[in-house]
């Protein structure tokens, strides 16, 4: 292995080559693939977690299960799950999306649950007194009050999914992780470093954009609490 300065230089040269970005299978194409997989995984996770979390929060049931699920999911090694899926015959981008969505559900579920459950009891009482049905209370009172927590959950989830997808490259999945996996496989450490920088940059950029988006979508009266 060459000296650190050599590796750094290799990484800079590689990143400065326009072809690296634009060639087929280059950074731009992989980043696009990465973002499409992220979008699908987050959409799947949201479709499962938000309604479930909202319903559990509304009915006040399953508090123990939700907490247990979140804690248990932390102990699960993502890589092990991805490799098990691969060994079960689920390969490539579909498996990656499934694994990423699987790990995204607990975060989103617990935030929706806490948000809906933590909605001001007086507001719920007033809504009930006005003759609102359970469904309307949930949709028009509790969920709007839970916006802060749900959008915070979405932000964490999206960043986490963007960060999880590169792991799947070790099991033959697509996305930007391929650069790191390929560089390791061929012992081109400059590319490994460059891949790491690109993936880290993407995550930070997305987190930044989402932080702004989160602020814009949070209704003004709730902003102070968001901190």
């Amino acid at each position: 292995m060459s000296a650190p300065t050599g590796v750094l230089q290799e990484a800079i040269v590689w990143l400065n080559d326009p072809l690296t970005w634009t060639e087929p299978g280059g950074i731009l194409e992989l980043a696009g693939e990465h973002l499409v997989m992220t979008a699908i995984a987050v959409a799947v996770a949201a479709a499962v977690a938000i309604p479930t979390g909202a319903w559990l929060g509304h009915s006040g049931r399953g508090a123990g299960t939700v907490v247990w699920l979140t804690n248990a999911s932390r102990a699960l090694p993502t890589l092990g799950i991805i490799l098990l899926l691969a060994a079960g015959g689920l390969f490539g981008n579909t498996a990656t999306v499934i694994a990423a969505a699987f790990f995204a559900v607990p975060v989103l579920l617990v935030n929706t649950y806490e948000g809906v459950r933590g909605a001001d009891p007086d507001a719920k009482d007033a809504a009930r007194g006005m003759g609102m049905s359970d469904g309307r209370i949930l949709l028009q009172v509790e969920l709007p009050l839970a916006t802060t927590l749900v959008s915070a959950g979405l932000r964490v989830t999206i960043v986490q999914v963007v960060a999880t997808i590169p792991l799947a490259a070790l099991a033959g999945g697509g996305g930007l992780g391929q650069i790191i996996a390929l560089g390791m496989g061929t012992q081109r450490y400059g590319e490994v470093l460059a891949g790491g920088i690109v993936v880290a940059g993407l995550c930070l950029a997305i987190d930044g954009v989402l932080a702004i988006g989160q602020r814009l979508t949070t209704p003004a009266p709730l902003r102070v609490r968001a901190g």
Binding site: L83, I197, V199
Partner: protein
């Protein structure tokens, strides 16, 4: 599939020494990373909670580091620190740092001002106040942070295989390369989860011993 079962007791028996060796590596790396993190994060948390202007930048920097995916961080550190254990250890310390730091700051912020006042009235200086009054009050939150950091570190170690040192992750990846040897991947995954639970339980017990005054209440 008879040729490639998900569980195989004979695999575990035949490879017991290797599985044990990887588990010990895994546990050692986890404990070292969390210990270093705690040694940095707890004093830093105490410092940060004393001065408001430090809190923002320090917690912000830690949060930004936390956002960087583990694979990317290992990939960035490996060429600079060399392949092997060091980049994984440094990366793990970075991730555990934010969790412990946050819980230390949160714990210290919940110290009852009346208690602090009473201690000051008794003539406690800032040092004694921190060690004998604030820290014990913050202890449950700090221990919760240590447990959370330990559990997520155990899961993160496996990613270290990308730079050649992943403890039980090495078995997972070896099984994957070895024609999808399911029993090997499954055993390593279950061992990782078990390790996380054992370490979590151990810390819970330590926490109970350190906070005898909480025992009567619901934890």
């Amino acid at each position: 599939m008879p040729g490639n079962p998900w569980f195989s007791w004979s695999y575990v028996v035949d490879n017991a020494p290797l599985i044990w060796q990887r588990t010990v590596e895994h546990a050692g790396l986890t404990i070292e990373a969390v210990a270093i993190s705690a040694a940095i994060a707890i004093p830093l948390g105490a410092l940060v909670s004393r001065s408001r202007w430090l809190a923002g930048p320090v917690l912000g920097t830690a949060a930004v580091m936390y956002t960087v995916p583990s694979l990317a961080l290992f990939a960035i550190l490996a060429p600079l620190l060399g392949i092997g254990r060091t980049p994984v250890l440094v990366g793990l310390v970075v991730y555990a740092l934010l969790i412990i730091l946050r819980n230390t700051v949160a714990g210290l912020s919940t110290v009852d001002p009346a208690v602090t006042d009473a201690a000051r009235g008794l003539g406690y200086g800032p040092g004694r106040l921190l060690v004998q009054v604030a820290m014990p009050s913050a202890l449950p939150s700090i221990i919760a942070g240590l447990r959370l950091a330990t559990v997520s570190t155990v899961a993160l170690v496996t990613v270290g295989i990308v730079v050649g040192y992943g403890g039980l992750g090495q078995l997972m990846f070896q099984g994957f390369r070895n024609n999808f040897y399911r029993a090997e991947i499954m055993t390593a995954t279950l061992a990782t989860i078990a390790l996380a639970l054992v370490l979590d339980l151990a810390l819970w017990a330590v926490g109970r011993l350190l906070t005898p005054w909480l025992r009567g209440r619901a934890s």
